[in-house]
Amino acid sequence: MTAPTEIPALTIAQVREGLAKRHFSAEELAREALAFAEAENPKTNAYLHFSPERAIAAARRVDEKLARGEDPGPLAGVPVAVKDVIVTQGVRSTAGSKLLANYIPPYDATAVIRLEQAGGVILGKANCDEFAMGSSNENSAFGPVRNPVDLERVPGGSSGGPAAAVAQGTAVVALGSDTGGSIRQPASFCGVVGVTPTYGRVSRYGLIAFASSLDHIGPFGRNVRDAATLLQAIAGRDELDSTSAFAPVPDYAALLNGAVRGTKIGLPREYFKGLASETGDLVTRGVEVLKRLGCEVREISLPHTDYAIGAYYIICTAEASSNLARFDGVRYTFRSADSATLSDMYRNTRGEGFGAECKRRIMLGTYVLSAGYYDAYYLKAQKVRHLIARDFSEAFREVDAIVTPVSPFPAFKLGEKLDDPLAMYLSDIYTITGDLAGIPCMSVPCGKTAGGLPVGMQILTKHFDEPGMFRLADAFEKAGGFGG
């Protein structure tokens, strides 16, 4: 059996080898990983709750397949954390909201079904900002997550729990969701790999909706190969999500061949101007590593970058105000205690149930969609979104990949930015553009500040070019030695 000290550093390859050589069974690993995660979790609050019965059942299915000599799947026995906005049948799924504190979903998300079919073992549900709205994980109704690298600092958000679990070693890989940077930003703050795949690459069936034209499910890992392996297992067309793409899913891991010489990389000048900070220095050093690997680096322009925050926060709040209308006290567990009329019940339930940030976004979204304002805000934002997406498609005629920072700064202290919503929104500048364009993008660790805080480098490629993105990130990780 593996020693508990090894658990926090396990990779998918090590789990596979351990099972093949009978160093441990999947059930033994699941029990040890659960015990370790439950003991470590109070430090960070990364998990909201554990699912031991489901984990042991999944591990036993892997062991039975192994005993029969069958292929147990690419994620066989791998301990996984799942962000709590992704529903799990029979296992509480709260979306970080008081409104869903007791919600037991009657069905599984497609991504959950697929990762278990691939042999994955879900240890529990990971903390997040309420309904995935936030950049620090401080908007969870069940308390913030602390960054395992520095417990006084935020892990980023909204997928702070999944990122922290992978960094802390209480999960090998994790599922998160990303609408404006909610996978990449926490990955960069916690020093792990986080991937937002092409829009439509992974089914959102069973993802509690925030902004449907922007929502993605994607993987976290301690290295590029593990994140790619998890994406492989969950990607592909699903008839239960009509926006999921038909494009065949390539073998991502097999394409990690290090062949990056001659890759044309663009550095958008709008992303680097005024980035005189340790973050900027580290990303610039990362670009030097890419040059040494034989990549051709040139400056490019994404001229509409400055309009991205405005367009994004109009579109995402408009869609959120519509998606969150369903939480009205009728179907989903929480209802205000004393309301004489139906109308009062709706109002009081929502007033008591939603946290401050959700209310702010519902209000913004309702305002921009209200009579007389639709054209000025929502329609205008959709047009600007088109310009931003066009910036990228024009850039990808010149270059194969775009490299940028993930966040203007590393992990900040808890409470530091909580009172300034606009400042928090503005910090999403480097990540929201990839979501608006729907292209694949990821954060890969590129070193630490003098104070020991991780910094991530973002790689973006064109629609469905996850292989090119992973190949570059994998070569960078191996050359830089930044991986876990």
Partner: protein, 99 residues
């Protein structure tokens, strides 16, 4: 841009959201600040630009059609299991029509 407390109350009403007096004051300031930032979009002439509602890919018109076959539903007992108040397979809510 400044949002009045009357406007905030009107929008909260549209959103079916009960706000406390404190929240109304705070919301007027917060929303005003964010909406001011959003006005930046007016610098761009978008008269010749198509709105982008969704990231779409080329596919046959019928590609998203699925086979029309019967599939079991959840059943009313399971579907109402998370309701705060349910009975006889229905969601229960406060009385809507007064007699």
């Amino acid at each position: 841009m400044i949002l009045s407390e009357t406007q905030v109350r009107y929008v909260a009403d549209l959103a079916n959201l009960r706000l406390t007096e404190d929240e109304v004051r705070r919301m007027a300031a917060d929303l005003g600040e964010v909406l001011t930032h959003m006005e930046k979009l007016n610098e761009l002439d978008t008269s010749a630009v198509e709105p982008m509602a969704q990231v779409l890919y080329q596919a046959e018109e019928t590609a998203t059609w699925r086979e029309d076959r019967e599939r079991p539903g959840l059943g009313s007992e399971v579907a109402t299991a998370n309701a705060p108040l349910a009975g006889a397979g229905f969601f229960k809510v406060p009385k809507v029509i007064e007699r």
